[in-house]
Amino acid sequence: MAVAGEVEFDSERPSRGPLALATRRLLRKKIAVAALVFIGAFYFCGLFAPVVAPHSYTAQNLDTVNQGPSLSHPFGTDSLGRDMLSRVIWASRTTVVVTVATLLTGGLVLAVGLGLLAGYAGGKVDTAIMRVGDVFFALPGLPMLIMVNATLGARIRGMGWLVAIEKALRIEGFPDYVVVFGALSLFAWVGGARVIRSQVLALRETEYVTAARAMGASTWRIISRHLLPNVSNIVIVGLSTSLGAIAGTEIALSWLGVGVQPPTPSFGPMLFEGGSIRTLQANPHLLLVPGVIVAGLMFSFNLLGDALTDVLTPHAR
């Protein structure tokens, strides 16, 4: 916290863009920084799982089954003697891939793309997009995701080109990821698209857009230079608040057995195994290890989302 009254006058410094200002305001919030650190560490572990994890997620050692935390296995071992720390790190990779992929496809491409298109094009295009959105919005999220994953999942997993990509990119479980984030994006875009559309509808009538059009600016230029920068704050806030829900849904789907399939590790099956009453009685660490990490991640997402809402849309407070 800066000492009150100690105002800086630094005329040498170039004026800051809105993004830099927002970042600075965000970094002043201690809770937001703590959440960012947790999320950062989690994503680092997930991205660099092959390097970070001390063991493979499939390496079994039946001599050391269901051990509590120890020096050689800080988080203990599971019922097959696999190192829990490594399992958790590899499971976080699943969360990382699914959240990032859903954000890019469902959040950015579908939500922003369709929202902009509906708002800017108007007329029949707008009606068509929003009516389709109404239908998707009415579908109950979780049951529908379960159904899509359970029925179409097997077909998509069997597609040859997906397996080829899996081999080429060396991401184990790539077809699983596609099934999960594909279904998530399909249902996640409506809320965002509606908000962006209504913003664009208002922005379209502003003087500077009219002026740009009068000067002969192309549609692409109006969208990229005038509309996108003005909806970017809402997009960032919306995406950040939905991150927790996306990560949570993947875990829920995998918990139910229709998401990411073994042997690819995910927090869902780990929590399922750890949550049975017999395991709880004998080896509570099998629930506590993934449980605490998942709860911590969700909490961090929520706190960060809150802080970003405060920083980027102050008028909405």
């Binding site: 009516r131 109404d134 239908v135 919005f137 009415a138 579908l139 109950p140 999220g141 979780l142 049951p143 529908m144 379960i146 159904m147 899509v148 359970a150 029925t151 179409l152 097997a154 077909r155 927790g244 949570g248 875990i251 829920a252 918990w255 139910l256 057995g257 229709v258 869902g268 929590l271 399922f272 750890g274 949550g275 009453i277 709880l280 009685q281 509570p284 629930l287 449980g291 998942v294 709860a295 969700m298 909490f299 997402f301 929520n302 706190l303 809150d306």
Partner: protein, 317 residues
């Protein structure tokens, strides 16, 4: 309440269209499921001629659109299709007693959500600027962050295995100690939503002129808060009943399964595991109908509670 009637009529006319679209999407997806239901039903006995005959009797050899037509016709007569797990019984017969269980559980959970959320929200707003405001909201936000698949096993660990306060699982109606854990588990994530909205609306009401007037009249703070502030800050809560309902349903999937409550949540999870698509399809349709009707009722109720709200030509759906 100008424009209310046309608005309601529009909504009511639009609802069947959405339901039809939803049912078609959901129906089509179930027909893409892995495994042949007839082959599953026949088990070991698989005479090709018999398979063909059953397939013909069930209408599974007809084109998709025709099958959908038959499904709709049966639906109109109250048949939701045969469950694979409960042989020779219609899904409707099995599902409605389970819905009754879940509805009672959901009602209790909803009461908990509002009974804790509203007072805490008002409390946080009145304490704005002190540590108790962010502290109480932070705790609720943490509860919101813990997924049900983590919180239920944790409760089992603490209340059942360690403290022996509660029975582990089962269902005995609303006035039975076995309702405590499932009701708490599915209400905890929603409390934060209600509390934060109450806090936000209370804060804006506190700035109103009539609150200052009430204080200036010399009314006791308690009277000001209960009569002038809370009554007015509760109005917007009506709008999030729908969202809370969705949260409850999603939580019920996991809580009912883990705690042995014979409701639709447990039924849904078991149906997913048994790939009983007719049940999931029926659930999707029932939930969609419920949410659409609930949202229409909420919107209408809102205009009656707060006559300032008008629905001229806003959104449909």
């Amino acid at each position: 309440m100008q424009g209310l009637l046309p608005y309601v009529v529009r909504r009511l006319l639009w609802a069947p269209v959405i339901l039809l679209a939803v049912s078609f999407i959901a129906f089509t997806i179930t027909r893409f499921g892995p495994g042949d239901p007839v082959r599953v039903a026949m088990g070991q006995y698989s005479d090709p001629a018999a398979l063909e005959r059953v397939r013909h009797e069930e209408g599974l050899d007809k084109p998709l659109l025709q099958q959908y037509g038959i499904y709709l016709k049966n639906l109109a007569q109250g048949h939701l299709g045969e469950s694979f797990t409960y042989r020779n019984r219609d899904v409707a017969e099995v599902i409605f007693p389970k819905i009754w269980v879940s509805a009672r559980l959901g009602l209790v959970a909803m009461l908990i959500v509002f009974a804790i959320g509203v007072p805490l929200g008002v409390f946080a707003a009145l304490k704005q600027g002190t540590w108790s405001d962010p502290f109480s909201i932070g705790i609720l936000l943490f509860f919101q962050s813990v997924p049900v698949v983590v919180s239920v096993p944790l409760m089992l660990l603490v209340f059942v295995l360690k403290l022996h306060w509660l029975p582990a699982a089962g269902w005995g109606g609303v006035f039975d100690s076995r309702i405590v854990m499932p009701a708490l588990a599915i209400s905890l994530p929603g409390i934060a939503v209600v509390a934060r909205l109450t806090r936000a609306t209370t804060l804006s009401v506190l700035r109103e002129d009539y609150v200052r007037t009430a204080r200036a009249k010399g009314l006791r703070e308690f009277t000001v808060v209960t009569r002038h502030v809370v009554r007015n800050s509760l109005l917007p809560l009506v709008t999030i009943i729908g969202i809370s309902l969705a949260t409850l349903v999603e939580g019920a999937f996991f809580a009912e399964y883990l705690l042995g409550v014979p409701g639709i949540g447990q039924f849904a999870v078991k149906s997913v595991q048994g790939r009983d698509y007719n049940v999931i399809l029926a659930l999707v349709l029932i939930l969609t109908t419920t949410f659409i009707i609930a949202n229409i009722i909420i919107d209408i109720a809102y205009t009656i509670i707060d006559p300032r709200v008008r629905y001229e030509r806003q959104r449909l759906g």
